[in-house]
Subunit: 458 residues, 2 copies
């Protein structure tokens, strides 16, 4: 049977198996799912073995890594490392899901479940591509290494150590990661830029306990008012971040880059609808919205808490107030320098009469690909064959710290080629994946093996 | 037995009965305490009857009112109306109480329990003064009416209607309320000023659900950042409230009033320690702290909530953000005008891309007494007899909407004479009342009957 016919005949079987994968509630952040995480890792390992790969579950201090290998192409063939993650985000708020998060449901050509897009559906694309290729053609023209972690949604805390102590085992000529979206169903996309991040928390402490706002109002500094003022001073009226030195290392876009961003086939109106807002905003005035979300740094409050927040009213001056504040960074901003600049500036805004605590939750480097060389040529050819159109080079406003990590530690080019779509409710209720793109993804990967074999042999 | 000896001999008995009163968890805000509220009202009624008063429990749409009367002084004697409340604030956070809130505990001459100071302990002062006076002297020289409500801590929602439809029944020559503090144990105090209030809530709604801060950051307005900015614009860097027209009706202090405020025997350092803060602040720069907490209007955030506020980090742009914001008002500010000015100013600060909802939780008039006439002369004499010193005229930063209400509807002077102390943890964990002042309060009231009889007869 031709690979094409086989892929066509296997659609239902693949989707059923994907649903089985999605039914395992592999929420890495919740300790009550620890056993589900182990069960999910075992499930992946077993499937890899069933399709002829060597595979094992490798324990870490947290959730295990699943590692699989197929070396039948031999030592002279190129080796492709595929990274993905089998853990998913928490599912709350549960009542906003139209169908339960761990009962996959197909509606209008989309499969709905937690993890469809991020990232179990895309991990499954790689698994089934290897299976289909081998079934149709006997053996892969490249060697394949699968590295699937279970802690991506909790900061990949054990992955760097694992990669560093397994450099020889993970050695490869190219790395492929499918954890990014396409711009639209008509625009297969290669992501060539990622923003980095610094995620901070600021806590203000005023009186030793909540005070009566009548008896003390006007006499003591209110930590909630003070926090609001601190936050308001982090950006000016034009949306520009006011932390001294914040923009110092931001690499200016070339004219060509700016022009190509402006030509991205996504309109402000499409993006506005997808975001579900009445008007766009939130970034630097006068900067094109695509540049703002892909190539400019940001500062967003992720959470605020102080005082009485229940129904009705309580007349208190809160004892304390907290804000979670994260900044997205772009090349060549350095997370460590930005963290220091943030902390020192925020401390300078603290009024007398309150104490301030500033802590960091996480950070990650920004990244930009160099889209030249055999890996990107191979990808362009494979994509064109599967989709009938050239790939679009896009950037991603989010952060995937694993990308610069793999690139640097394993000294390999990284290809970010994903098949989710914008608006697929990543990290939100009703996450979905287009089944058409899921299957196109599998086809793209089978073609990519051939193209990488050709390009790296040349 | 002389009244003096009787009061002395009754100390333990009174304290035991007060403890019994405090053991009933009469939390008006919590529906699970509805039966406790009814039980507490019955308890008060029964005690009033036991001490020879006519008394009844009068149902309202919410918690009942307890009404008691004693008319043995006859139609020519003056009538004193005593207002108080038997409901208490919620007790959370429970783990900060050194002893449980409804298990009264005496330590260092203080009784600790929810309601000791606000207001059950002070209601009990009035109950026991009547009992002791009659036991020692046979009959009171004034007629007495007790009006104790069960909804003071939830806005006295049914009281105004009750007073309005019972004007004849409640008719009196003087009203006495013990729900305010003394300045210090050495300074018996009459409160001659109260701040009014407008309590608002502002809600901002951005995207239809929380969004990924990487994918959308820089593209959409963040409701939490926007709310912080709105709040920060409500005061300038000198602590002056920037709502247009906010200070228009604030009555300037006379030179005499300002001088008397500066002579209040409370130092900044004492107030700072009592508030438990590292430095004072929070009001208008350059204004004396006593004036700031008693006679200047304020604006305080009472609560803030947006996005993710749990442990760790979640990279979202929150869908919404809310702030509870209350303003304390001084004569002659009008709560309705201030509410309108607040709402219109806050709406003018709303950026495009978020929707704003502004609502009011409650409001109340500011109040100033005219400390002349027979009631205040009687009080001064009674206080001097019980405490050995003249009363201090103080103001109160808090709001007691019932005071202007009683004054206006019943056309009577109101005397605010309380026996709690600053730092007694009103509305907070570990609320307490000095037992010495509790007993001095009872004595003061017994003397006040004689003095009112004398002054109003004259």
């Amino acid at each position: 049977m031709s690979l094409e016919s086989l892929l066509n005949d296997s659609r239902q079987k693949f989707e059923d198996e994907l649903a089985e994968f999605l039914r395992i509630p592999s929420v890495s952040a919740r300790s009550e799912h620890k056993e589900d995480m182990a069960r999910c890792a075992d499930w992946v390992r077993d499937k890899l073995r069933e399709q002829g790969m060597e595979a094992e579950v490798i324990p870490t201090r947290g959730h295990p890594i699943v590692y699989g290998e197929l070396s039948e192409a031999g030592p002279d063939a190129p080796t492709v490392l595929v990274y993905g993650h089998y853990d998913v985000q928490p599912v709350e708020p549960l009542d906003e899901w139209e169908t339960p998060p761990f009962e996959p449901s197909v509606r209008d050509g989309r499969m709905y479940a937690r993890g469809t897009a991020d990232d179990k559906g895309q991990v499954h694309v790689h698994m089934k591509a290897v299976e289909a290729y081998r079934e149709a053609k006997g053996a892969l023209p490249v060697n394949v290494k699968f590295l699937f972690e279970g802690e991506e949604e909790v900061g990949s805390v054990n992955l760097e150590a694992f990669i560093k102590s397994n450099v020889a085992r993970l050695a490869c000529d190219a790395a492929v990661i499918s954890d990014t979206p396409m711009l639209s169903p008509e625009h297969p996309s290669i992501c060539v830029g990622l923003r980095g991040m610094v995620y901070m928390e600021v806590r203000l402490k005023g009186p030793s306990q909540d005070l009566h706002s009548g008896q003390y109002g006007g006499g003591v500094v209110n930590p909630a008012n003070a926090l609001a003022k601190v936050i308001s001073r982090l950006k000016d009226d034009n949306g520009r971040i006011t932390i001294p030195g914040f923009y110092a290392d931001v690499k200016a876009l070339s004219e060509i880059e700016r022009k190509s961003l402006a030509e991205v086939p996504l309109t402000e109106e499409e993006f506005r609808q997808e975001a579900g807002v009445s008007a766009l905003g939130g970034g630097e005035a006068g900067v094109h919205f695509i540049e703002r979300i892909w190539r400019r740094p940001t500062l967003d409050v992720n959470g605020l808490l102080s005082g009485y927040t229940g129904e009705g009213a309580k007349t208190i001056i809160p004892a304390k107030a907290l804000a979670k504040i994260s900044m997205r960074l772009v090349p060549d901003q350095d997370p460590k320098a930005i963290r220091a600049a943030f902390e020192s500036y925020v401390r300078s805004l603290k009024p007398e009469g309150v104490e301030m605590e500033v802590m960091m939750h996480s950070d990650g480097l920004p990244w930009a690909a160099d889209p030249e060389g055999p890996l990107f040529r191979a990808a362009a050819t494979a994509i064109n064959a599967a989709f009938g159109s050239d790939p679009l080079f896009i950037s991603e406003g989010g952060s995937i710290p694993i990308v610069p990590m793999i690139e640097q530690i394993l000294d390999t080019p990284v290809l970010l080629l994903g098949f989710a779509l914008p608006g697929c409710n990543l990290h939100s209720p009703n996450e979905w994946l287009s089944l058409d793109l899921y299957h196109k993804g599998i086809e793209t990967m089978t073609r990519l093996y051939d193209e990488i074999a050709r390009e790296f042999a040349g």
